[in-house]
C-alpha cells in the first residue's frame, strides 16, 4: 500500500514501473514471494523427511527381529535323563548340552563347554521338552529339531555384531564365532521367520520374547473400552444432540465434554489410580481397569464425533418420520441412528486406534506386568499391553531387545494402519453426503 501512495506523491515519471529502480523493487518483491514459497516447501519437506526418518529408522532397526537364526541338532532323548512317565521333570538341559558337544568333540575343557552351551537359547530346553511331551514315543530315540541360537550369536549371524573389529571390542570371542561358522559350514544353521515374536509371551531372553501376551492384553483392554465407550458415547451424544433441553445442566455437560477431550491422558491415569484402584479396590494391572480408563479418555472424542454425524443427517428425514406419526424416540432409533451409524463407527474406530497407542495412563495403573505366559491372562489378572511392552523392552539392556522393540513398534503401527484403513473404508463405502 505504501508503494501506491509513494507513486502518487512523486508523480508518474519517477514512479513508472519501467524505471530501473522500480524494476529492482519488483524483482525484490517477487524474490520475497519465492522465498516464502521455498520456506513453506522447506517446512513441509522437513516434516515429511522427519516422518521418513522415523519410519526408516524403525524399519532399519526392526526388520532383523522378524528373522531368527536357528541350528538343526540331533537330540538323543536319553531314558536315563527323561522318564517316560514324568517327561516335564526330565533333565533336558543335559540333553541339549550333549547334542551340542557331540558336534564339537574337540571341546573338552569345562570352561569351554560352559561357553559352548551358551550358543543355544535357554529356550531350546523348553522347545525340546514340549516336543517330547507331545510325542512321548521319542524317549530313547533321537530326533532332529530346529532350535534358536542365543541372542549374541543371532546378532552375529545377522551382522549386527561386526566381525572385523578387534576381539576385545566384540561381545563374542573368536572361538565363539568359529563355533557358529563351523556349524554353518556343515549346513546346520538356518535363518527362518521369527514365529516367537507373535506366538510367545514376554521373556527375559530377547530371542524367546514375543508379543502374544501384550497383544492379548491389548485386545482385552480394547474390548472393555469398546463395550463401555460405544453405548455410553452414543447415548450421551444422542441425548445432547436430539433430546436435551437447552438448560444449564446440558450446557455444563457440553463444556465438560469439550474440556475433557483436551485433558492430558496422564491425568486420567491418576483418576484411575485414585478412584478405580484406590477407592473401588479393583486389582492393579488388570485389563478391566485399563479398559475403563481408556474408555474415559475416548468417550469425549466419540461423543463429539457422533454429535457431528447426527447433525449431518438432514432434518427432512426427521420431519418425514414425525409426520407419519413416529415418536421422537422412534425417529431416532429407526431412522437417524441407522443413517449416522457408519460415521459413528468410523469415529469409534479412530478413537480406539488412539486408545491402542495410549501408554501413560496404563503405566500409572501398573499395566507393565511381566507376562511370561498367555494362559494366565484374564480381565482381572495382571496383564500388559502393546505400547507398555514397547516401553518395557525399550528399557531392557540386551542388544536383541532394540530390534525387538522396533519390531513391536512396527506391529503396533501395523494395527493402527489397519484400524484406520477400516475406518476410511467404512467412511467411503457407507457414508452418505446429503446435498
Amino acid at each position: 500500500m505504501s508503494d501506491v501512495s509513494s507513486t502518487l506523491r512523486t508523480g508518474p515519471a519517477t514512479g513508472h514501473w519501467r524505471t530501473a529502480a522500480q524494476q529492482r523493487r519488483l524483482r525484490r518483491r517477487y524474490a520475497a514471494d519465492r522465498r516464502m514459497q521455498i520456506l513453506g516447501l522447506g517446512a513441509i519437506g522437513l516434516a515429511v523427511a522427519l516422518l521418513g526418518i522415523l519410519f526408516g529408522s524403525l524399519v532399519y532397526s526392526g526388520y532383523l527381529a522378524f528373522a531368527q537364526t536357528r541350528v538343526v541338532l540331533e537330540f538323543r532323548i536319553d531314558p536315563a535323563l527323561v522318564q517316560p512317565d514324568r517327561i516335564q521333570d526330565g533333565n533336558f538341559r543335559s540333553i541339549i548340552r550333549q547334542a551340542l558337544f557331540q558336534q564339537f568333540p574337540e571341546v573338552t575343557s569345562r570352561r569351554q563347554q560352559t561357553e559352548l552351551a551358551k550358543l543355544l537359547s535357554p529356550g531350546a530346553e523348553w522347545i525340546v521338552r514340549d516336543h517330547v511331551q507331545a510325542n512321548p514315543e521319542l524317549v530313547g530315540r533321537t530326533v532332529n529339531l530346529l532350535v534358536p541360537v542365543a541372542d549374541p550369536y543371532d546378532q552375529l549371524s545377522k551382522g549386527v555384531i561386526p566381525r572385523d573389529v578387534p576381539e576385545s571390542q566384540r561381545r563374542l570371542g573368536d572361538e565363539a564365532i568359529g563355533w557358529l561358522d563351523s556349524l554353518d559350514r556343515r549346513g546346520l544353521v538356518r535363518t527362518t521367520f521369527a514365529w516367537e515374536l507373535f506366538l510367545n509371551a514376554d521373556s527375559r531372553f530377547p530371542e524367546m520374547a514375543g508379543l502374544a501376551g501384550a497383544m492379548t492384553g491389548s485386545f482385552l483392554t480394547l474390548l472393555v473400552c469398546l463395550l463401555l465407550s460405544i453405548p455410553l458415547g452414543i447415548a450421551a451424544a444422542v441425548y445432547l444432540e436430539e433430546f436435551a433441553p437447552k438448560n444449564r445442566l446440558t450446557s455444563l455437560i457440553e463444556v465438560n465434554i469439550n474440556n475433557l477431550a483436551a485433558v492430558p491422558s496422564i491425568v486420567f491415569g491418576l483418576l484411575g489410580l485414585a478412584v478405580f484402584l484406590g477407592f473401588l479396590g479393583l486389582p492393579r494391572s488388570a485389563p478391566l481397569v485399563g479398559g475403563m480408563v481408556l474408555s474415559l479418555i475416548t468417550l469425549p472424542t466419540i461423543v463429539i464425533a457422533t454429535r457431528a454425524t447426527l447433525k449431518a443427517v438432514p432434518p427432512s428425514i426427521r420431519e418425514a418420520a414425525l409426520a407419519i406419526g413416529a415418536s421422537k424416540h422412534q425417529v431416532m432409533m429407526h431412522h437417524v441412528l441407522p443413517m449416522a451409524m457408519p460415521g459413528i463407527m468410523t469415529a469409534t474406530i479412530i478413537g480406539l486406534a488412539h486408545a491402542l497407542g495410549e501408554t501413560a495412563p496404563l503405566l500409572l495403573i501398573g499395566m507393565n506386568a511381566f507376562i511370561p505366559s498367555v494362559d494366565s491372562i484374564g480381565l482381572l489378572e495382571p496383564a500388559t499391553a502393546l505400547p507398555m511392552q514397547i516401553y518395557s523392552w525399550a528399557d531392557s539392556p540386551e542388544r536383541g531387545f532394540v530390534a525387538r522393540t522396533s519390531a513391536a513398534i512396527l506391529v503396533l503401527l501395523g494395527f493402527l494402519v489397519a484400524m484406520n484403513a477400516v475406518a476410511i473404508y467404512l467412511r467411503q463405502r457407507f457414508e452418505r453426503t446429503w446435498s
Binding site: 516464502m36 513453506g40 513441509i44 532397526s61 492430558p264 491425568v267 491418576l270 484402584l277 501413560a360 514397547i390
Partner: protein, 459 residues
C-alpha cells in the same frame, strides 16, 4: 463369581423379555391391534425392570463391598495389634491380611493376621453369595411388578421411552462425573500432601528431591518438595518443542493454504496428520534410538557437550509430534479468512507473500494463537516422550544441553511401583497432577475462547 452374576442377570433379562412378549400376546390373543403399544415395547419394559435395578445393585455392591469388609476385618483384629498404630502401619497390616486372603502372602505373617486373612476370605465368599442372591431377588421382584402392569391399554411405549431418556441422561452425566472424579481425587490427595508439605514450599521451593525414607533404616536424602525446578524443566522442554513446531507448522500451513495445488494439498495434509497419529511411546523410542545419539555425535563434532537425555532431545522430538497440531489449526485459521480480504489485497497489486504477511496472518492471528496455546497444553501434558528421553533428576537450569525433568516424568517416577497413598512421595504426584490439570485446563479454556470469538467475527 462376578462373571456368573452378570451372566445370570443377562440371561434373566433375556428371559424376562420373552415373558413380557408372551404376556402381551396372551392378554389380547390374536387381536394384537387392541394393544396400545407393540408387544416388543411391553417386553422391553419388563426387561428394563429386571435388568436395570439388579444391575445397579450389583455395581453398587461391588463398590461398597471392599471398603466395608476392610473396615469389618480391621475392627475384628485383637486390640493389642492395632492399639496406638498410625495410619500407615494399619494399612500395612490390612494389605498383609489381603495377601493372606488372596493366597499371595510371602514369609510367615503373625497368627492374628493369618486368622484375619482366613476370616476375610470366608467373608468375601459369603458377601459374593449374598450379592448374587440379592440381585436375583431384586430381578425377580422387578419381573413380578413389571409384568403385572402389562395390559392392552398399558402405555408401554411411553414408559420405555421415559426409561430410555433417563438412561441417556445418565450416560451424558458420566462426563460430569469424570471431571468431578478428576477434580475431587486430585484435590483430596493434594490436600493430604499439603498437610505434609506446605504449599509455599511446594510452589516456591528451589529443590526437588522426593526420595524420602519409607522405612526407618533406609539411607536417603531428607526429601525436598520444591517444585520450581520441575516447573522450569517442563517450561524449557515445552518451549523447545514450540520453537521446533511453530515455524515448521506455520510455514507448512501457509504453503498448503496459499501456494499448494489442490492435489499437492490432498496428498500432504494426511501425510502430516500421520505424525499426530503415531503413539507417543514410539516417539520416545525414536528419541532414544536416533535423535539422542545423533545430537551427541553432532555436539562432539562441534565441541559441545550434549547430555544424552538433554532437554533438547525430548523437546525436539516433542516438537515433531506437535507439528501437525499447529499446521492443521493454522491452516483452518488461514483458510477461514474471507475470500474478499484476500482478493482485495491481490487486486491492489500485492504479491501473495505480501498478502499473507500483511492481510492473512493478522486476520488469522487469533486462530493461530489459539492453536499454539492448544499445542502448548499438549506439550505440557505429554508423558511418554519425556519419560523415555528426558531426565529424572530435577536440576534448576535453562541450559537446553543439560537434562531436566518435567511434571509428567515426576508423576510417573513417583507413582511407579507404589500403590499406598500415605507418604508425601506418592501424594506429591497428585499435587503435581493437580497443577498439570489446572494449567492445561486454563490454557484450553483461553485457547477455545480465542478461537471461538475469532470464528464468530467472520461468520
Amino acid at each position: 463369581m462376578l462373571t456368573y452374576a452378570f451372566a445370570a442377570l443377562l440371561a434373566l433379562t433375556l428371559v424376562s423379555f420373552m415373558i413380557g412378549r408372551w404376556r402381551a400376546h396372551a392378554c389380547v390373543g390374536v387381536s394384537t391391534w387392541k394393544l396400545h403399544s407393540r408387544p416388543a415395547y411391553h417386553a422391553s419394559f419388563v426387561a428394563a425392570w429386571v435388568g436395570i435395578p439388579a444391575g445397579l445393585l450389583l455395581l453398587a455392591w461391588l463398590m461398597i463391598q471392599g471398603p466395608v469388609l476392610d473396615r469389618l476385618v480391621m475392627v475384628s483384629l485383637p486390640g493389642e495389634l492395632v492399639a496406638g498404630k498410625g495410619v500407615g502401619e494399619l494399612s500395612l497390616i490390612l494389605s498383609q491380611i489381603k495377601a493372606v486372603a488372596g493366597g499371595t502372602a510371602f514369609g510367615d505373617p503373625a497368627q492374628p493376621i493369618l486368622e484375619a486373612g482366613e476370616r476375610l476370605k470366608s467373608w468375601r465368599s459369603i458377601a459374593e453369595l449374598a450379592m448374587l442372591a440379592c440381585a436375583m431377588v431384586v430381578a425377580m421382584l422387578g419381573m413380578v411388578v413389571a409384568q403385572s402392569r402389562i395390559a392392552p391399554e398399558f402405555r408401554a411405549r411411553q414408559a420405555v421411552e421415559r426409561i430410555l431418556d433417563w438412561l441417556m441422561i445418565a450416560c451424558a452425566v458420566i462426563a460430569i462425573l469424570t471431571t468431578l472424579g478428576i477434580v475431587v481425587s486430585l484435590l483430596i490427595e493434594a490436600m493430604r500432601f499439603f498437610g505434609h508439605v506446605s504449599p509455599l514450599r511446594f510452589f516456591f521451593g528451589l529443590s526437588w528431591e522426593p526420595q524420602i525414607a519409607i522405612r526407618a533404616d533406609q539411607v536417603t536424602a531428607g526429601g525436598a518438595f520444591g517444585a520450581i525446578p520441575v516447573f522450569v524443566g517442563t517450561f524449557l522442554i515445552a518451549l523447545i518443542a514450540m520453537l521446533v513446531a511453530t515455524p515448521v507448522g506455520l510455514l507448512s500451513a501457509i504453503y498448503l493454504a496459499e501456494y499448494a495445488s489442490p492435489r499437492f494439498r490432498a496428498a500432504i495434509k494426511p501425510t502430516l496428520e500421520i505424525l499426530a497419529g503415531i503413539p507417543t511411546v514410539v516417539y520416545g523410542f525414536f528419541a532414544v534410538l536416533v535423535v539422542s545419539p545423533a545430537l551427541r555425535t553432532f555436539g562432539e563434532a562441534v565441541g559441545l557437550p550434549i547430555a544424552p537425555n538433554s532437554a533438547l532431545v525430548a523437546g525436539g522430538v516433542m516438537g515433531i509430534m506437535i507439528i501437525p497440531f499447529i499446521s492443521s489449526l493454522s491452516d483452518d485459521a488461514i483458510t477461514a479468512v474471507p475470500r474478499s480480504m484476500r482478493d482485495g489485497s491481490l487486486a491492489l497489486g500485492a504479491t501473495k507473500n505480501e498478502t499473507i504477511i500483511s492481510v492473512l496472518l493478522p486476520a488469522a492471528l487469533p486462530g493461530i494463537m489459539g492453536g499454539i496455546l492448544l499445542a502448548v497444553s499438549r506439550a505440557i501434558g505429554e508423558t511418554m516422550i519425556v519419560v523415555m528421553a528426558a531426565g529424572i533428576i530435577a536440576s534448576l537450569t535453562l541450559n537446553p544441553f543439560q537434562p531436566v525433568t518435567t511434571v509428567t516424568v515426576q508423576i510417573v517416577t513417583l507413582l511407579i511401583g507404589d500403590s499406598e497413598f500415605d507418604n508425601p512421595k506418592t501424594l506429591a504426584a497428585f499435587a503435581l497432577g493437580l497443577v498439570l490439570f489446572v494449567s492445561t485446563l486454563l490454557l484450553n479454556i483461553v485457547a477455545m475462547r480465542i478461537v471461538q470469538r475469532y470464528r464468530e467475527q467472520y461468520e
